[in-house]
Amino acid sequence: MAGNYDPSFAKEVFDNVDSGEEIKMCMQCGICAGSCPLRHEMDYPPRQIFTLIRAGRRDEVMNSKAIKLCTSCYRCKVRCPRGIPVIDVMHGLAHYGIKKGIIPRKGTAAFGGEFWKMIYNIGRIDEKTLPLKYNLLEGLVPGIKSTIEMAPMGIQMFLHHRMKLLPERKIKGIKELRKMLDKAKEMGKGGAN
């Protein structure tokens, strides 16, 4: 079955997504895809996301894993020969997805809450306890199950000195950091929820 080209979704993106109009300039060279460190985790590379938008494939784009995976490393934006702010578009699409209720807000918000708490307590992220705490939010049994699923990654991180066996210690000057975080919360720029 041949897919049809439908310009209406592209128009929706141009009108609603942050920097959405910039994707008109994409010439499909694929430098973004080649530069992306998370390319192997993505279902579609950024280049193809843009093609899908042009073709009007709303469902494929809005449900794609790729738009949620961007870690803001800025490589694509720096390298794009047409100067497209690829990361802005990817985040823009994710935000638009959340706004439209296509991407659930719950999971990210919960993760954000745990992240904030940990930073507030010890000033850094403990790679062991954060996923554990986040997973346990799902309930005890599924939480342990999810954590066991992540064990191979944990072992690799340990082998590469990316994770310690002992708990992480508090940073020096945690009080100053907390003051900053309190201030940020006061300004409405963060917080545990």
């Binding site: 041949a2 049809n4 080209y5 300039m25 994409c26 010439m27 280049r47 093609t51 042009r54």
Partner: protein, 743 residues
Amino acid sequence: MDKNIGIYICTGCGIGDMLDCDPIAEMASDEYSVSICKNHPFLCGAEGVDLIKKDIEGEGVNTIIIAACSPRVNYDVFDFGQDKIIERVNFREHVAWSQAEKDENTQMLAEDYIKMACAKIGRTDLPEPFKAEEEYSKDILVVGGGVAGMTAALETAKAGYNAILVEKDPKLGGFLAKMKKNVTLPYKDISDTGAEAMIKAVSDNPKIKVYTSAAVEKISGGPGIFSVEIKANGNSATERAGAIVQATGWVPYDANKLGHLGYGKFKNVITNVEMEEMAAAGKITRPSDGKDVKNVLFIQCAGSRDPEHLPYCSSSCCLVSMKQATYVKEQNPEAVNYILYKDIRTVGQSEDFYRKAQMDGNVFIRGSVEEVGESGGNLYVSANDELLGEKIKIEELDLVVLAVGMVPRSLPAEIPKIKAPSDSKEADADGMIEVKPDSGFFATSALNLAYRQGPELPTLKYGFPDSHFICFPYETRRTGIYSAGCIRRPMEVGKAKDDATGAAMKAIQCIEATSIGMAVHPRAGDISYPEFNMSRCTQCKRCTEECPFGAINEDEKGNPLPSPTRCRRCGTCMGACPERIISFKNYSVGMIGDMLKAVSVPEEDEEKPRVIVFVCENDAYPAVDMAGIKKMNWSPYVRFVPVRCLGSIALVWVADALARGIDGLLFMGCRHGDDYQCHFVKGSELANTRLSKVSETLDRLSLESDRVKFIEVGITDCDKVPAIISEFMETIESVGPNPYKGW
């Protein structure tokens, strides 16, 4: 001319450390009775040049042999006027920098080069520039009144020369006048074509004479002395011209051959030329019912880059489609343009217009068309979308535009036929034979040259006039005739203007050089020209057939009628002539023959083989020079003989050299074939053909065919030169010494 020879050896640049110069001087005065033979440590310095000048004045030296650096450098320093014969011996690159120090073989090599130079000047006369009997015309004939033709005429007039413009249509302007808008520098947006202003500028210019509804009936003569018969509106006129610019342009590829894209089947499938005409006429509508258009799809490369149709890219269709998409958007901002492409090719700065087209929201789809069809009165196109990796279908289309490519107007619709020679096996029942693209008969009528080798410019396989369009643009295989615009290669308006300006400048150069008897590219400035000793001509027609530039006509009896102004001085005729009746004042079969005889051939038991390397002056010689500059080493047993073009080699040299005991002959020429690099187009190819027949000569002498070898050398192949020589020396060693030594 009485030659008073002076030999000057420079001992600078390391030459003095490598050679013992005194014995060389002694040898020259003994064997060639040269009275003046001097050394100088810095000959190209003021003091060194003064030394020579003093001898010219005081001693009356008029023939100067300078044994120093390569003739490719310091030619301005060692220029003592046109009344002196100057021979440069390359002691630096070919001896000092590439051979062993103070070695017996190096010394012999240097002596041989001096002997060869002495032999050469013995046969050299001062060339006198050719002067035609008629008065030279300095007007330029421009054939074709499109954007390239008009620009060529205007630029000619701006440079102060008169132009004669011949246009086949009643109105000037060509395709430019048919366009609605144009995309040109700075390629940011569409702009007015400027056709009317340009036509007015041409018509109002007192230096430009315009013939419309006209055709060139006949052109005879040569550069400087072209006689042009023009038929305009039924009247005949004769003009004289010094050079010609052919700018006869292009025709769109015949869309009737594109049935698979729906052309001819659906009314709403049109070509880009029809789209442009429709836009220029007013409004873009659906041809089927005259209704407004909303969805338009452009099919790029319609027939282009397709081995079944046009195998090449026309480089302008992408821009044209984007321009026409802009028309559609201007007419209806809600309209959607789809551009289905293989590759977007917006060359150079025109990439900016691609950006604009993208910003306008045109939908670019990379893929190939599967089907163009109709349903419910609207068209649909199914295609393979390469970037989505799936089949797509675009429906509700009002218009499908086929971006067809450019075909040179010179390409004949059918392969032309000429009368076959009586011994031809391929002739049909009527005694006719199909013309190959590589000839002056393979082109539609535009110039009607009264040349023996055909009425038009020889074309390449796609029908564009043959020239090396990277190394020598505008040049064609007919001297003084330059091609410009889309007849040369497909291009858009901005490029065509540049092209026409270039061609006009080349035409002016040609006129000025011809008027003082000088050759044009690639031997620009050469005043020698071939002279024919007609009393010994056997009417074999080889010279008239083989001249790469069609410079030689012939009379009914087959006698050659040379036109020196058409000549590029390559010497191909000289190499072709079996009677050796063609020679230049400073280049002849006898002269090179004497040089070969001057090479000393040691006895067999000395185990010093001798190999002559004929090097093309244009590419192979510089390559050897560069190998010398890089201080690469090669065998001291080789002797380089520069030739104007390998096309000028005479087989008698092979026989002469081998009969004297020379062990081998190597020919270094340019690449030939489809991507040739030969400066004289056909020279190295002809040399190769001639040498392939040399085995006959070798058999007669009972010699091995390995002793003669042709090698293609590019100017960048300097690194390979020593290896080529050593390989050949190994071959010679395995074949053994020439049994004719000492005869």
